[in-house]
Structure formats: C-alpha cells, structure tokens
Amino acid sequence: MKEGFFRPREYHRPNNLQEATWLLSSFGKRAKLIAGGTDLLVNKPPEVECLIDVASLDLNYIRKDGNGITIGAATTLDLIERSPMFSAGPYVVLSEAASNMATPTVRNMATIGGNICNASPAADLSLALMVLDSTVKIYGLDGSRVLPIGAFFEDVNKTALAEDELLVEIHIPMSPAGTGASFLKLRHHQTAIDLAVVNVATRLTCSDDFCEDARIALGAVAKRPIYAEKAKRLLTGKRLDGKLIQEAAEIASKEAKPIDDVRSSARYRRRMIAVLVKRALELSITRCET
C-alpha cells in the first residue's frame, strides 16, 4: 500500500472495556477508536493501522438518577437532541448545542464521545457540557478515573486521554433550582461542514435577580474551549441588570484569545464573543424564572 492513504489492516470490535484497553495499549499510536466515523472517515489519517470499534461496548445510553444524568460516550447526537431529559431546565443547553451541529443525517451517526474526544476548540457539545459542570469517566489499564470536563481538553485535537484509555461516559450533575442555561453559535450556514465562527454557552443560578452562580464557556477563541473566569466572578453575588450583563460580556471578550483563520478574523471573533455572551446571559436569565 502507498503511503498517504487510509489503509488500516486490522479491525477489532472488543466486547468489553478491558479488551478495548488491551488493544489500545498494544497498538499504541497506530490504533484509532471508531464510533460514528463522521470525523475519522472524513480525515482518514494514513498512519492508522488498526481500528477499534466501540459498537459492542454498550456505550449508547442516557440515564437519569438522583445524582444527575449520565450519557454513554457512543450515544448519537440525534438521541441527545430528542431526549426528554434535555428538553427542560438548564439541560436544554445540551440539546441546543446538539441540534446546532452539522446535518440531521450526520447527527444520526456522530456520537457525543467522538465530538469531545476530537477536541476541536470549536466543538459545540464541549461548551454545553462545561457550563453544566460535567465530568468524564475514563477507563484504562489501571482502571477508571474521573475528570472535570474542563480538564479533559488540553490543546487543539488533544485530550487528557493516555494511549491505553478511552472515554466511557459523561456525567451531568443536577443543577440547583432557579438555574437557566443557553447555547448560541455564530455560523455561516448549517451544513455538514460548518464550524462555529464562535460559540458560547452560559448558565446562571438566580434568586430574586441576584446571581448566585455563573458559568460562561467560549469556543473557537483559544486552543481549547475555555471558561471566562473573570466574567463569571464579576457576575457572582451581584444584582443582574443590563449594565452588569454588558460589562460581563465585554470582560469575556477580553478573556478570548482568538486567531485569524478562514472562517473569521480574530478581531471579529472577539467582537462577536461580547454579543453572544450578552445574548446567552439574557436568555439564561429568562430561563431561570421558569
């Protein structure tokens, strides 16, 4: 086979997590996990010699219990978009992000785990999961570990996963009463290949117009999705009004470190972060009241 073509010679479909980690550790960098295939089979990396399919690991589920909602890594986006668990409360932020991605057919295939493990700085689901304080469960040769989602993203297309590890599930804790969240994405047209110019998710917990707690996550403005910590601190404990929201939006845009690329200039991205954060916060406030 010529170099430069995607020509994996092996395909494995492990039946349990141990088997999957053995395969991952024995093939190392030459192996790649495959789920929906909507990133891998578009990029077709020529260095991949072995495909490890997650289809038989039973990671396609959305479960709710007293502690929150747990989503299996191989759950497809169409299920998240339509799930009643993400149709109310602050959890709608996840279905909003999912329905804003690609086309319906791609969403029938693409998985939540694939989206976040690809670690695009512009990934839509990452931001929604970040404002919901999600954690990720990772399984490897030494057993499982849990990380806050913010610590999962390390760089462009790089996660905290070691070579022998895979993402098993994402856990979303219950938010306190009076919490609202929203997701907004600036884009050209919604197509299979459309990525965010910038995207934003926010979550507010309010009590009598006072902000008790806040989260603001920004996408496509750094090497990984980031929290706007200064803007969050400004809001927390204060009475929410138009002036404060505007100020928080401007601070968030200063926390962004965007670059110029084919989709947009850095300057425009920074300006639009202020606009989107303001709108997302306003929308989150209206959702706190219901």
């Binding site: 010679r9 092996e10 909507t38 089979l41 289809a55 086309t103 319906p104 057919t105 295939m109």
Partner: protein, 161 residues
C-alpha cells in the same frame, strides 16, 4: 489479518462478503453488489447523495465502514419498489417533476423514507430540515419538498408502512 467476513442484509437479501477494514458501505454497495442507485457525491459526508437506511435510520454510506454494518439490515433505493410498482415516494418525485439531473434523488428519497418511518405526518418545516442533509445543485428544494409531503399524505391514506 486483512479481510474480514461479514454478513449483511441488503434490501431483504443476505450477502456474505470478505471486506477490507477500510472499505466503505458505499464501496461495497456499488462495486461489489452492483447497486449503483446509491450515489457517490463528495465521499466525505457533505452532500447526502450516498444516504441509505440502516435499521430504519438515514445514514451516510460513505462514512460507514462495511465492517461496521456486519449483521445489519440495509435498505437502498433499489429496495423501495415492490416488483414493477414504484414506492409512493418515487411515484411522487416523478409526478412532481422533483428530479432534474437525478444524482441527489436517491439520497433525498432514502432520507425522506427514514423521516416517514417515525413521522407519518411531517410538517413542511420538518421536511425542509430533513432535506438540509442533501445537497441539490439543479432544481432546488421546492419540488422535492412538495413531493415528500404529497407522498406522506398518500401513504397515510394507504396506511402503508
């Protein structure tokens, strides 16, 4: 290890095939089974011309490996007619002249089929949203939308699947 044996059910018929790990379902359908109704447009998930149904759901055969669909039931455009009788969606596309060059048509129809599987009475907006998966560079979308809504109405009347 290179080739793997798979069993797939295409349009109601089971096939046993030895496939390379990198061969897509699209490659297999067109080159091995001769089912060229499924089109290869962009071959990277952007155009929807290769849309087929797996277990009743619309998926892109260009972004699906043949090894991944081992044991699954696949429906392509060739599986829609009953003998010489076209499927109501196909009839409707003909009746509404919803076809120009025809390259995107099988993908559109298979996508519409999957929509009608779980929603027998879709709104125009739902049909348009579904067709956002399929690029057409000739006629636009007016006629396909009308054709799908009309087919849905006819299928509800017939109470056929």
């Amino acid at each position: 290890m290179t080739k793997r044996d798979i069993n797939i059910c295409v349009n109601g018929k089971w096939y046993e095939l030895a496939v390379e790990p990198y061969e897509t379902l699209l490659d297999i359908l067109r080159n091995r089974l001769g089912l060229t109704g499924t089109k290869s447009g962009c071959a990277k998930g952007e155009c929807g011309a290769c849309t087929v149904n797996i277990d009743g759901k619309a998926i892109l055969s260009c972004l699906t490996l043949a090894v991944q669909v081992d044991g699954k039931e696949i429906l392509t455009i060739e599986g829609l007619p009953k003998g010489a009788e076209l499927h109501p969606l196909q009839e409707s596309f003909v009746k509404h002249s919803a076809v120009q060059c025809g390259y995107c048509t099988p993908g559109m129809i298979m996508n519409a089929k999957a929509l009608l599987n779980h929603n027998s009475n879709p709104s125009e907006k739902e049909v348009r949203k579904t067709l956002s998966s399929n690029l057409c560079r000739c006629t636009g979308y007016e006629r396909p939308v009308k054709a799908i809504l009309d087919a849905a109405r006819i299928m509800r009347g017939k109470d056929e699947r």
